[in-house]
């Protein structure tokens, strides 16, 4: 019975807050924060109407804090958007940008701060409502858009265009509001829209509460990522603020201050989490990159490195032979030939030739049929070992692995290291073949019993496939289609397999790509 398994590749989606699924600890933490917020809200309830008096510094300090927090949050979310291209992120970061820019006129029009007229008082209330409305609507937009397909690749230019558009959009909306606000003496009667702004306080509070609840419900029902959870916290903070404001209905009492404080706290938390999770993810990535490079260093010497070092070793004696030959002929060509120098050069040539011979001998010994290191082994285990060894590379290149290992195949007798090298090479070749793939990058490794007494392993890729014109030459030494490497890999693979009385060949895959297969004789127990 073939055992099927698939390992997904790590991709951008899994390392960004906007798409990263939350861990259990993160979920509990969010729940705890929400509970603390509501507990604080409940604890405040008995005192909401206790007057505190006018604190002149409160509004400017609050507005400044909100401005800074919202701007940074917006920037962080914009960055996430430019990476994952989720329109939902554009909406939410636009919302935060809107919120940041709104705080300025909002604070400036606060009536008691500059001792202005009733007009400014209306303006401040209006701005307050619009700020909350815009902010909440961006959350609703986020929740509605968040499950959209983000896989479509937007060209780079259109991404920066959208980012600019988002920022410009928020500013234009704000400008209009500011214009409306500054022309507000005309508003009460002149514009139908102003009727809306003139509705009673309770009407507005109700509408805002409703929108916030809608945003909360949408976020809750569609929550999937860490970001979703923390946006829920932000909405809870806003909900509490709106509830308190609706409850107290006047300024400078405990509820009026506390509501803003809770919203500020929840917004700060969202920013803190965005920052800390980003830093944590960065640390995790940095660690995995370090681990990756360490693993690669320790990993089996691949044939490319091997062949490059063989080339280096071979070139030395060859260069010496060529140079000595030329030197000898120059010494001979002199008016009085220098026989001693010629002799010495010939000696060099002989020595270098021996050196080349020894080198070739040692390469042959490496892949030659040698029973000493042969042991009974299970090819399925070998496949799994090699996949574990190359796991990081496969992940990094976003290759999914499909295993179809027939657990009933007989063991074979072979040299574990040599056969590992064959598999490492076939898989490395497959990875390289799929590097430029727009199609899904799938590495399929199968094992099966091959009649009559053999075990077959195949390594298939979804790369461009092998040009039939060169298919029969790829196992020749020094034949390569790659820009780097010496083309010894497949030649050595074939000699290892043939050294094990097996066969290695290549055929085109059913759809795209190629399949490398080898068959080794089963080691039938006596």
């Amino acid at each position: 019975m073939p055992a099927r398994g698939a390992t997904g590749a790590l991709n951008e989606q899994q390392v960004l807050l906007a798409t990263l699924p939350p861990s259990l600890t993160q979920k509990r933490f969010v729940l705890a924060v929400v509970l603390v917020l509501f507990a604080a809200f409940c604890a405040t309830l008995p005192f909401v109407t206790v007057p505190v008096g006018y604190i002149r510094e409160f509004i400017p300090a609050y507005a400044t804090a909100m401005f800074v927090i919202s701007s940074i949050t917006s920037a962080l979310l914009f960055v996430q958007f430019s990476v994952v291209h989720l329109r939902a992120l554009l909406a939410i970061s636009g919302g935060y940008l809107f919120s940041a820019v709104m705080t300025v006129p909002w604070a400036l029009t606060f009536p008691d701060l500059f001792g202005e007229t009733d007009m400014t008082s209306t303006t401040w209330g209006l701005l307050s409502r619009l700020w909350h409305l815009g902010f909440t609507l961006s959350f609703i937009g986020y929740a509605l858009l968040k499950d959209d397909d983000a896989t479509e690749q937007w060209p780079r230019r259109s991404v920066s265009f959208l980012v600019l558009l988002g920022a410009a959009g928020a500013l234009v909306v704000l400008d209009n509001i500011a214009w409306l606000a500054t022309t507000s003496p005309l508003m009460p009667s002149a514009l139908p829209v102003s009727m809306l702004f003139e509705r009673s306080q309770s009407y507005w509070n109700g509408a805002l509460l409703l929108f916030t609840l809608v945003a909360l419900v949408l976020l809750w029902s569609r929550r999937r990522s860490v970001l979703d959870l923390w946006l829920i916290v932000a909405m809870c903070g806003l909900l509490i603020e709106l509830c308190l404001i609706a409850l107290v209905g006047r300024r400078y009492v405990v509820g009026w201050y506390a509501g803003r404080a809770y919203f500020l706290v929840s917004s700060t938390l969202v920013l803190a989490i965005l920052l800390s999770e980003t830093a944590l993810l960065y640390a995790r990535l940095a660690r995995s990159v370090v681990a990756q490079s360490r693993e690669r260093e320790a990993r089996l010497m691949t044939m490319d490195i091997l062949s490059a070092s063989i080339a280096h070793e071979m070139n030395q004696p060859l260069a010496s032979i060529v140079t000595s030959t030329d030197a000898a002929s120059r010494w001979l060509g002199r008016p009085t030939p220098d026989v001693e120098e010629v002799k010495a050069a010939l000696g060099q040539i002989r020595n270098s030739a021996y050196r080349a011979r020894d080198l070739i001998g040692s390469i042959r010994a490496m892949v030659k049929r040698d029973g000493r290191n042969r042991a009974r082994l299970d090819l399925n285990d070998l496949v799994r070992e090699v996949l574990a060894l190359l796991g990081r590379d496969l992940q990094r290149n976003r290759i999914s692995v499909e295993l179809e290992l027939d657990e009933s195949v007989a063991p074979v007798k072979g040299d574990r290291i040599q056969l590992q090298q064959v598999l490492v090479n076939l898989i490395a070749n497959a990875m390289e073949a799929m590097m430029e793939n727009k199609r899904p990058r799938i590495l399929r490794i199968k094992s099966a019993t091959h009649d009559p007494h053999g075990v077959m392993v195949s390594v298939a890729d979804t790369g461009p496939g092998i040009d039939p014109a060169v298919a029969n030459r790829i196992f020749n030494p020094l034949f390569t289609t790659k820009s780097s490497g010496m083309g010894l890999g497949l030649a050595i693979c074939r000699s290892i397999i043939e050294g094990h009385d097996g066969r290695l060949w290549v055929s085109p895959a059913a759809e795209d790509g190629s399949v490398f297969q080898f068959v080794l004789p089963a080691d039938i127990a006596p």
Binding site: A319, S324, A327, A345, N351
Partner: protein, 126 residues
Amino acid sequence: MPDVPIISIIDDDDSMRCAMKSLVTSLGLRVHTFRSAEEFLQSPSVDDTSCLITDVQMPGLSGVELQNLLLARARHMPIILVTAFPEERMRNRAIEAGALGFLSKPFESQMLIKLIEKAIATGPKN
């Protein structure tokens, strides 16, 4: 004989070093050989070499590192680099840094001879 130019050859590979020495000597030039860049730097030849031929991959300082070191010490002798492990980037870097030539082993002796003649014709730059 101060009028006979001195050619210094550095290669950790014995047979290659001897072969190059034989070839260059056959041109009628004086040859000093060294097993490593460090050995060359400690020798008096560092001051009177008309042309330096050095391997790239050697234990200790590599040929390219030696080239940079000589540049830093303002010893502007013509340098020919030879390597059994050619790499385009390394070649470009060496040529940019002012190397007279960059040969891949095995190279044609005639190319080396031409480069040496060019080096002697231009002479040391300092």
